[in-house]
């Protein structure tokens, strides 16, 4: 499956792209197709992506977050072991109280990745089975060290 095929299929499936004020956009500039969707559509979209056999995105190989100082962006990299066409999914989140549905029930690898994003960026994954600190020691809850304005005079040396 090529990038264009994937785009056509995506537009067929999700009417959000074609409505008057699109709540979702598709970006073709990168190597891979990038899709921006809203938080409300998220769970519906990813479930479709996984279960719909014409996409069958069964392999979530990267899950991370970017701090843009004004907002956070969740980035999901999917690929399919049958079609082999990766897709990048981006969701914009509120910076102060980021919240998003978990995908750990769809891709089990997300459980660890989401725990990492939770402790590093403070994103609250709703309905996550076990949302605790994974890498950071106890007492680092809500410190969100990967945010750009994080200050730690002891451990960080400013270049």
């Amino acid at each position: 499956m090529t990038k264009e095929d994937l785009k056509i299929k995506l537009i067929e499936l999700f009417p959000q792209f074609t409505t008057e004020i699109p709540s979702a956009t598709i970006d073709e500039s990168g190597t891979w197709l990038k899709m921006n969707i809203s938080k409300e559509d998220f769970l519906n979209v990813v479930t479709q992506l996984k279960t719909n056999l014409s996409f069958h995105f069964d392999f979530l190989f990267c899950l991370t977050c970017i701090d843009w100082k004004t907002h956070l962006t969740m980035v999901y990299h999917f690929t399919s072991t049958t079609h082999r066409q990766p897709l990048v999914l981006q969701i914009t989140l509120d910076r102060e109280h980021p919240e998003i549905e978990t995908v750990s029930s769809i891709w089990r690898t997300a459980e660890f990745h989401e725990r990492e994003v939770y402790e590093m960026f403070g994103v609250n994954f709703l309905h996550h089975p076990d949302l605790r600190l994974l890498i950071l020691p106890d007492g680092w809850e809500n410190k969100r060290p990967m945010l750009k304005d994080f200050e730690d005079p002891i451990n960080m040396i400013k270049l």
């Binding site: 069964d58 980035v75 994974l134 020691p137």
Partner: protein, 375 residues
């Protein structure tokens, strides 16, 4: 800041025994901390506690320039530091549209495959040691030492090479390189037979690994396993085949697939991969193209605004580098998708219901490198 060891106390339901395996334990090969809930000798639950060697490399890289941050990545998966450097270099080249000279491409592939072999050799010894056979470890080190010597001549160091730079490699090959590699090839060919005789064909070893830690193809995909762990379950996931970089598309080699999904399948994948790596080196060693070993690049690299992702096959699986650039001299955000992190998440699934001895065998078959997981 001093970190308190959060040793988990026995506060569970009656009848359960909670054991802390690690952070210092002979078979975690690093500072992995597993909290295991046991019922007798049977494992009920495994909970990894990570971060004992977390250095926040991703945050660190945000303040380092594109040339500098590559050197930090050597310290992640220290057993395939060449490949880590390579992955980062690929991502930068991808962003800057740098054409790497053919000689540099060949050198990179040679180094990658040597690294893969060295890493698998160490794993072979360590896996055998986990299962209780101590001798293979030293036999594996004998061969690994030869590879390390080859690296030392060309790169100057033995473990964290820092040899790949954006646009090629840092220095040309040492004049002895070809000779040393040609000495190594027949030596290792005879020794890999010895490996099989010593461990693979051993009945106790087979009993310890066959049917242990089974993970099906679907589960392996769902847990995001890559590398030998996924290929042992029959998942085609070799980046060198699926998404060829450098000159891999011109080389003849097989993607090793086993369908058992157990420790023995993963073991066999790695054993056969070593032979494939050897054949790649054989194909390349006599036909390294002449020419530049590095493309001409600017002194200060600036990636254009955008997002770049590159994948590379390390000895442990797919290593991904995700760079978000704002157009400056440093990456705005960088994310390393380490293979060990995802492979580790499948540990609980694999080991539930088996014995402590099996857990050690499974951990050995996952080939975990803790700095790679913690980053």
């Amino acid at each position: 800041m001093y970190r308190e060891t959060d040793i988990v106390q026995d506060t569970s339901i009656e009848g359960d025994l909670i054991i802390n395996v690690g952070p210092q334990h002979p078979s975690t090969h690093g500072v992995l901390h597993l909290v295991i809930t046991l019922n007798g000798e049977t494992i009920k639950k495994i909970e990894p506690h990570l971060g004992y060697i977390h250095r926040s490399i991703e945050k660190m890289c945000e303040s380092l320039s594109y040339r500098q941050f590559i050197y930090v990545t050597s310290k992640m998966d220290y057993l395939s530091s060449h490949i880590n450097n390579h992955g980062c270099a690929l991502c930068i080249e991808n962003g800057l549209q740098i054409e790497v000279p053919p000689r540099a491409q060949a050198i990179r592939v040679l180094m990658d495959e040597l690294t893969r072999m060295a890493s698998h050799q160490l794993w072979w010894g360590a896996n055998a040691m986990d299962i209780g056979a101590l001798t293979p470890f030293f036999h594996a080190f004998r061969e690994r030492e030869m590879i390390n010597d080859i690296f030392e001549e060309t790169c100057g160091t033995r473990l964290t090479m820092n040899y790949m730079v954006p646009g090629g490699v840092m220095a040309d090959l040492h004049p002895n390189f070809q000779k040393r590699v040609k000495e190594f090839i027949p030596h290792f060919k005879s020794k890999i037979v010895e490996y099989d005789e010593l461990l693979t064909d051993n009945i106790i070893f087979q009993n310890r690994t066959k049917g242990i830690g089974i993970i099906s193809k679907e589960d392996a995909i769902s847990y995001g396993c890559t590398g030998p762990v996924a290929r042992g379950s029959g998942v085609y996931c070799d980046v060198r085949k699926l998404n060829p970089y450098e000159i891999y598309s011109q080389l003849k080699f097989d993607e090793i697939i086993e369908t058992g999904g157990d420790c023995f399948a993963r073991y066999m994948v790695r054993m056969r991969e070593m032979k494939q790596s050897l054949s790649i080196i054989e194909q390349l060693i006599d036909v390294i193209p002449e020419g530049d070993f590095q493309a001409k690049t600017k002194a200060v690299l600036k990636l254009p605004k955008g997002e770049f992702y590159s994948q590379i096959e390390t000895a442990r699986g797919e290593f991904g580098v995700y760079i978000v650039s704002e157009g400056g001299t440093t990456p705005y955000r960088i994310k390393f998708r380490s293979p060990g992190f995802s492979n580790l998440s499948a540990l609980d699934f694999m080991a539930r219901g088996s014995k402590i001895g099996d857990l050690i065998a499974i951990m050995g078959s996952l080939d975990l490198v803790i700095p790679d997981i913690d980053r």
